[in-house]
Amino acid sequence: MADLTTTFLGIRSPNPFWLASAPPTDKAYNVYRAFEAGWGGVVWKTLGEDPPIVNVSGPRYGAIYGPSRHLIGFNNIELITDRPLEVNLREIRQTKRDWPDRALVVSLMVPCEERSWKAILRQVEDASADGVELNLGCPHGMSERGMGSAVGQVPEYVEMVVRWCKENTRLPVIVKLTPNVTNILAPARAAKHGGADAVSLINTISAIMAVDLDAMTPSPNVDGRGAHGGYCGPAVKPVALRMVGEIARDPECAGMPISGIGGIATWRDAAEFMALGASNVQVCTAAMVYGFKVVQEMIDGLSDWMDAKGYQSVAEFVGRATRNFVDWEHLNLNYTVKARIDQSLCIQCGRCHIACEDTSHQAITREQDGKRHYEVIDAECVGCNLCVNVCPVEHCITLVPLPIGTVDPRTGREVEGYADWTTHPNNPASDAFRPAAAAGRSGP
C-alpha cells in the first residue's frame, strides 16, 4: 500500500490533502470534524487584526451549474474571519494539542506595515501553529482596503511583506498567490526573492457570477446591489493548473515548493496538480459542496492509483509532468493523428458530425446507405479533438497517431519525425526560413 504521508516545509501530514483557508476552517468545530473525516491538514481561515471585519448578512455565495445542477463554479464575497483574534488563537492552540499529527497552518492578512505583521506572527507562533500562509490573494473586500490581492498584484510589495515575515518568525512562510495578474511568475519570483519557503495557488479569480435580470443587479444580490467576488470550484482548475505549471518549470523559482489549489474535487485532480509540480494540495469547494467525507475518496483513489503505478510515496510522482509542459513552439508539428469512431460504442447522436461540419473541417460523414452513420474522413481530418470533446460517450472517439513513414491522406505527405516551429521554414525566426515557400502556405 502506497505511503501518502507528506512532508511540506518540514510539516508532516498523513496525506497531501489539506483544507484551504476558507469558511470550512474558520472554527475548531469545523476543523475537528475535518480531521475526524481524514483531512491531512488545514490552513486556518485568515486571521486579521482586531476589531474583526464584518461580513454581509445577505448572501455570500453564488454558483454556476452543469447538468443536473452539479455545481461547477462557485463564488464568494465573504471576507477573512469575523471572529476576535484571541478566540481564533485559543482554538488553534487547542486544536494543535488535540491533533498533533495533522498539519495546522494559519493564514494571515494584516495591513501592509511591518509592525502589523510582526505582531500577529508572534501571536501565531505562541499558538503553536506549524506555519503561516500569507493571504496576498483575496480579490474582494479586503483588496479595496490595501490588503489581499492589492498586495499580491504588486511584486515589490510581495517581496517586501515576505521579507518582513521571514525576519520576524521562525515558522515556515507560504505565500498564497492571486491569479488576478498578467503573469503569475512575477509575484512568484518576488516571493522567492523575499525568502518565501513556498507558494500556494491559486487564490480565487475576480468574478461576477451572474446578473439577476429581475433586479438588474449582479448576483449574489445583496439588497439590490452586487459586488465582484472570488471565483473557484471545478471550473477554475485549468487556470490553476497552468499557473502551477508555470512556476514549477520556471528556473528562477526552482526548488520552491508549491501547494496546489483550484477546483480540486477528486484524487485525480490532486494527482494532476502534483504531477505538474505541487507537493501537496488544498481543497475548499469540494468540501463545501459535499462535506468533509469527500476526502476519503481522494485518499483511497490516490492510494490505489499509486499502487497501480508502482509509486511508493507521493514524492515519486510530484513534478513528473512538469518537464513535458512546454511552450507551443516546442510541440512536434509532424505528429499526426486521425480521429477514430468506435461504431460499437456510437449511439448515433450525430454531435461529432455537426460540430465538425459546422465549425471545423467537414471530416465526419452523416450517413451511409441512407442510414445515420458517423465516420471520419481521413483526407479531411486534422486531428483537432473537437469530436472527441463533444462525444457524449467516453472512449467512443479516440485519436490515433499515424506512424512515421505513412502518408497522411489529408496532405499527401509522409509523416516525418520530430520537427517544431523553431526549425520550421514558415517561421521567420528559424534558420530554415524561406519566404517563397511560406507564401504558398495558408496561415494557422
Binding site: 445542477r69 449511439i347 447522436c349 454531435r351 457524449p392
Partner: protein, 459 residues
C-alpha cells in the same frame, strides 16, 4: 362497508367512494420543475435528431427541451404547438415508446430514453396554466372551409386554416368537440379536463365556427357541403365496431368497448357506473388495454384480455401491455372466441379456442377450448368506417382497405374534398397522426384555394 368488490353480476359502486378519484386521476403525475430541469439536461441535442424523425408532427424536440432547460417555457411550448396544436393531449396519449422516445439515442447509451412525453407535458401545461394564447388568426381570405368531425384531425385542420385566414365551420355530430380525446382515451391519461381545455385553446384563435349535433348523412350531405363551401375536410373517424365473428345473441353483458369508454368518460360519478365482477376483453389494441385497465380500476375483480395472436402482434405496445398487467389485467394470447354462453338472458361465460399459425402462416384453431366466466365481454377488435354517411356518394370517394383513400396531401378522389385521421387509409390510428393529417390537409387546401383565386383573377 360500501365496498362491493365481490358481488357477482354487473354492479355499480364496487369501490369505496374515495377510490374513484385516485383510480381515474392522473396516471402519471406531472414533472416538477426540478424533475424537468434534471431530465432536460439529459437531452444531447442530437444532430438531425432521431426523435424528430420519429414524431409524426416533426416537433423540434431538442429545441423545446433545451428551452425548458434554459427557463424559456413559452418558447418551448411554441416549438411544440406550432407543429402539433394538440401537443398537450399528445404528450399524454402518444405511445412515445414507439415514437420519439423509442428513437432516443439514450436508449443505446444507457437503456433509458429522455422522458420526452413528460417534458412536452411540462411545457404545454405551463402555457395552459397561464392561459397564454400564442396564435393569431390570419387576415381573412374570403374563403370558407367546412370541416366535418371535431376530433384531432378536424380541429388541427381547422386551427391551421384559421391561422392562414380562411373561415372555418366545424360540424360535429356529438355534443362536444374533441373526438377520441374527449370520448375514447382512457380517463387517467387525460385527467383534469385537458381535452376540453385544448379544444378551447384551439377555438381561442378565432375564425372557427362550431356547429354541434350535426352528423354527416343525417343533418348534412357531402354534396351540400361541397356546394356551400370552397373546400371540405372529412375527419369523421371510424363510427362502427367490428363484430366478434361469432353468434352475438341479444344478451345483457355484450358491449362495444368504445361505447363503454365513451360512457365512462362522460360519467361524472363513476361509482354509479356498473361494471362486471368478471370481465373479458377481446382484442389486442390500445382500446383493449384501455377498457381492461379501466374496468379493473372500476373494481372488476377478474379482467382478462384475450387476443388471437401473440404479444408481438398486438398493436398495443409492450409498455401498454405492461401497464395493463401492472393493473392486474391478465393477457391470454393465441385464442379466439367461439361462443357466448348465457344464463337467465345474461352473459355468463365466453368460450374460446386456442389458435396457432398453420403451415401456410394462416391463423387456425387448434380445436382445444376453454371458457372464462364473464359478466361482461367487450369487443375491442377495431373499428370500421361508416360509409353511408358519405351521402350515397361513397362510390365517388375512392375507398382503400375499408377507409377513405387520400394522397400525401390528404386529397381524396373527389375534387375539393380532403380527409384525414382514422377515417383515411394507411394511418396508425394515433391522435398525433390525425393532427398531422389535419395540418397537411390545411396546407394543401390553402394551396388549392390560392391557386383558385389566381385562376379567377386571371381568368
Amino acid at each position: 362497508m360500501s365496498e362491493h368488490r365481490s358481488r357477482d353480476g354487473v354492479q355499480s359502486g364496487r369501490l369505496p367512494p374515495e377510490a374513484y378519484a385516485r383510480n381515474f386521476g392522473d396516471a402519471h403525475p406531472p414533472m416538477t420543475r426540478h424533475q424537468a430541469l434534471v431530465e432536460s439536461d439529459r437531452c444531447l441535442f442530437c444532430y438531425a435528431a432521431p426523435c424528430v424523425e420519429a414524431c409524426p408532427t416533426s416537433i423540434d424536440i431538442p429545441s423545446f427541451i433545451r428551452k425548458i432547460a434554459t427557463g424559456n417555457l413559452k418558447g418551448s411550448a411554441r416549438d411544440i404547438l406550432q407543429q402539433n396544436i394538440m401537443g398537450a393531449v399528445c404528450a399524454r396519449v402518444c405511445p412515445t415508446e414507439v415514437l420519439c422516445e423509442g428513437a432516443c439515442v439514450r436508449n443505446t447509451a444507457e437503456d433509458r430514453p429522455v422522458a420526452i412525453g413528460a417534458l412536452q407535458r411540462h411545457a404545454t401545461d405551463w402555457l395552459s396554466d397561464r392561459g397564454i394564447q400564442l396564435f393569431e388568426r390570419g387576415a381573412p381570405s374570403g374563403k370558407r372551409v367546412a370541416v366535418v368531425g371535431g376530433g384531432p384531425a378536424g380541429l388541427s385542420c381547422a386551427h391551421r386554416l384559421a391561422l392562414i385566414g380562411h373561415a372555418v365551420t366545424v360540424f360535429e355530430a356529438r355534443a362536444k368537440l374533441g373526438g377520441l380525446n374527449e370520448y375514447g382515451v382512457a380517463a387517467y391519461k387525460v385527467a383534469g379536463d385537458v381535452a376540453q381545455r385544448e379544444v378551447e385553446y384551439i377555438l381561442g384563435v378565432g375564425g372557427i365556427e362550431v356547429r354541434l349535433g350535426q352528423r354527416l348523412g343525417r343533418d348534412l350531405t357531402l354534396a351540400g357541403l361541397r356546394r356551400d363551401f370552397d373546400a371540405v375536410f372529412l375527419g369523421i373517424g371510424l363510427g362502427a365496431v367490428n363484430a366478434l365473428g361469432v353468434d352475438e345473441p341479444a344478451l345483457d353483458g355484450v358491449h362495444d368497448a368504445i361505447a363503454y369508454i365513451e360512457r365512462l368518460r362522460q360519467t361524472r360519478d363513476l361509482s354509479a357506473l356498473p361494471v362486471g365482477r368478471r370481465v373479458v376483453v377481446v382484442g389486442g389494441g390500445m382500446t383493449a388495454i384501455d377498457i381492461a385497465t379501466q374496468t379493473r380500476r372500476l373494481g372488476a375483480e377478474d379482467v382478462t384480455i384475450v387476443y388471437r395472436r401473440g404479444p408481438a402482434q398486438m398493436s398495443a405496445s409492450a409498455k401498454e401491455q405492461d401497464w395493463a398487467q401492472t393493473n392486474g389485467v391478465r393477457i391470454v394470447h393465441w385464442a379466439r372466441p367461439v361462443r357466448l354462453q348465457a344464463a337467465d338472458g345474461k352473459l355468463s361465460r365466453v368460450e374460446f379456442e386456442y389458435t396457432r399459425l398453420d403451415a401456410q402462416g394462416q391463423l387456425a384453431g387448434t380445436g382445444e377450448r376453454f371458457t372464462l366466466s364473464a359478466d361482461m365481454v367487450f369487443k375491442a377488435i377495431g373499428q370500421v368506417l361508416v360509409r353511408d354517411g358519405l351521402d350515397g356518394h361513397a362510390d365517388l370517394l375512392d375507398i382503400d382497405s375499408g377507409r377513405i383513400a387520400a394522397d400525401a396531401e390528404r386529397r381524396t378522389s373527389l375534387p375539393g374534398v380532403w380527409a384525414g385521421g382514422d377515417c383515411v387509409a394507411g394511418g396508425k390510428d394515433l391522435t398525433v397522426v390525425a393532427v398531422e393529417d389535419g395540418k397537411l390537409a390545411a396546407q394543401s387546401i390553402d394551396r388549392a384555394l390560392r391557386a383558385g383565386v389566381q385562376e379567377t383573377t386571371h381568368g
